[in-house]
């Protein structure tokens, strides 16, 4: 990788101030999205601001109606502590591999908005809220496209609040080599209705309204048996054509409903 200036921030305010001074800075938490990109020399930030040790960003808090995960909380910690939402715990255990889960963080993952990442499905599937140093952003508004989010320059994810669902599950069909999601579907039933969020299949996480409506009427796998997403616009690569991904969305959604029900 190219060389850069390294700063370790002690607090959110310090991190934001350091970022403001950097000409092309990036926040570094676990580094498991950023460092691989930098190693390939595909990114050349001037400054890395290490937020990994800011206590306020670390940890899983269980509130009466929600689970709040600090931005710099590693996946392994979510897997161990997000007991109030078992589907979220289980999703965290499917990210990367054990070593990656010890370092990779939720904030780093969602700020990167990789189209095949697992967390976006949980955020959108559960209707989570992203808290930044400036504002709160609904998950539905957070993911804007391929590696694109609603975050503005210098804005930092502080935590993610996941409302507790009545029932939820995540089903993932991994891309065999990278183990990212070829297709991952998060299904949640809440008091307000049903949410179905799909990752891996498209340029960014998306919801399947037709499935949500059908599942609201009847929360069974059979209720969505005939509901498919159009292949047009879905990702297509050597690991899966758009047509195959469209098919998998239905299979994974049904399996998620079966697991959640």
């Amino acid at each position: 990788m190219y060389n850069f200036n390294y700063h370790r921030a002690g607090s959110v305010d310090e991190a934001v101030a350091l970022m403001a001074k950097a000409s092309d800075g990036r926040f570094l938490a676990g580094g498991h999205s950023l460092l691989p990109t930098m190693k390939q020399r595909l990114a050349q930030p001037t400054d890395l601001i290490d937020i990994g040790r800011i206590a306020a960003l670390n940890g899983v808090k269980t509130e009466s109606n929600a689970v709040v995960v600090g931005a710099a909380t590693p996946h392994a910690e979510v897997n161990a502590s997000a007991k109030a939402i078992p589907a979220l715990m289980a999703l965290a255990a499917k990210i990367g591999d054990p070593h990656v889960r010890h370092r990779g963080t939720i904030g780093g993952s969602i700020a990167n908005s990789d189209p095949a990442a697992d967390y976006p499905a949980a955020l959108v599937g559960l209707g989570a809220t992203v808290k930044t140093n400036k504002r709160t952003i609904a998950a539905d508004d957070f993911f804007k496209g391929l590696f694109e989010t609603a975050l503005s320059d210098g804005e930092m994810v502080v935590s993610v609040s996941f409302p507790k669902p009545e029932a939820a599950a995540y089903m993932k069909f991994p891309q065999p080599a990278s183990r990212f999601a070829l297709v991952g579907v998060f299904v949640a039933r809440t008091s307000g209705g049903v949410r179905v969020a799909v990752t891996g299949a498209g340029p960014s996480v998306f919801r399947v309204k037709a499935m949500e409506d059908a599942l609201k009427a009847k929360f069974t796998p059979d209720a969505i048996k005939g509901i498919t997403v159009p292949a047009k616009g879905l990702n297509s690569d050597i690991h899966g054509s758009a047509e195959y991904r469209a098919h998998l969305v239905n299979v994974m959604a049904r399996r998620a409903v079966a697991a959640a029900a």
């Binding site: 290490d50 054990p98 070593h99 990656v100």
Partner: protein, 156 residues
């Protein structure tokens, strides 16, 4: 820029002045000459570089030396005590869980971390937990056997 890093590696205090871009694995191999930790890929997948930071397995190829500053790092060189192999190393030897030896340090470090988290894993769990380590020689068969045997010895 260069930065100063200091950490405990295998129980010994070490320090150095390194480029900010220095990865932990480079610091271990090049500055400390602890060449037991290997690099087998550049996309954070093969696991040959796995070490423990504060007792947890991490990929030292995807961790800056700066991020390990102030931590306790254990590498493959830090496992055997007074010439006596760690039970996991012993199990790998007993069950022929290594051939060329290149992935072995990462495998052993990962396996120890696995048993820390899951003391008595079944075969399917072991295979799943090895998702972050690639071995091209053994076909994994004997690695799985070695980890099962070590779990018994290590009293899980």
């Amino acid at each position: 820029m260069t930065i100063a890093v200091a950490m405990k590696v295998n129980g010994k205090a070490v320090s150095g002045q390194v480029e900010a871009r220095t990865l932990l694995v480079q610091f271990l191999r090049e500055n400390l000459r602890l060449t037991g930790t290997h690099v087998g890929c550049d996309t954070s997948q093969c696991g040959a570089c796995v070490v423990h930071i504060n007792g947890k397995a991490v990929k030292s190829c995807t961790t800056l030396a700066a991020q390990a500053d102030g931590t306790e790092v254990t590498t493959i060189e830090g496992l055997a005590r007074d010439g006596k192999l760690h039970p996991m190393q012993e199990a790998f030897r007993e069950h022929h869980a290594l051939q060329c030896g290149f992935c072995t340090p990462g495998m052993v470090m990962s396996a120890i971390d696995m048993l820390r988290r899951i003391p008595r894993p079944d075969e399917a769990t072991i295979r799943h937990e090895l998702e972050g380590n690639i071995c091209r020689c053994t076909g994994y068969h004997n690695i799985v056997k070695a980890i099962q045997a070590a779990a018994k010895v290590m009293g899980g």
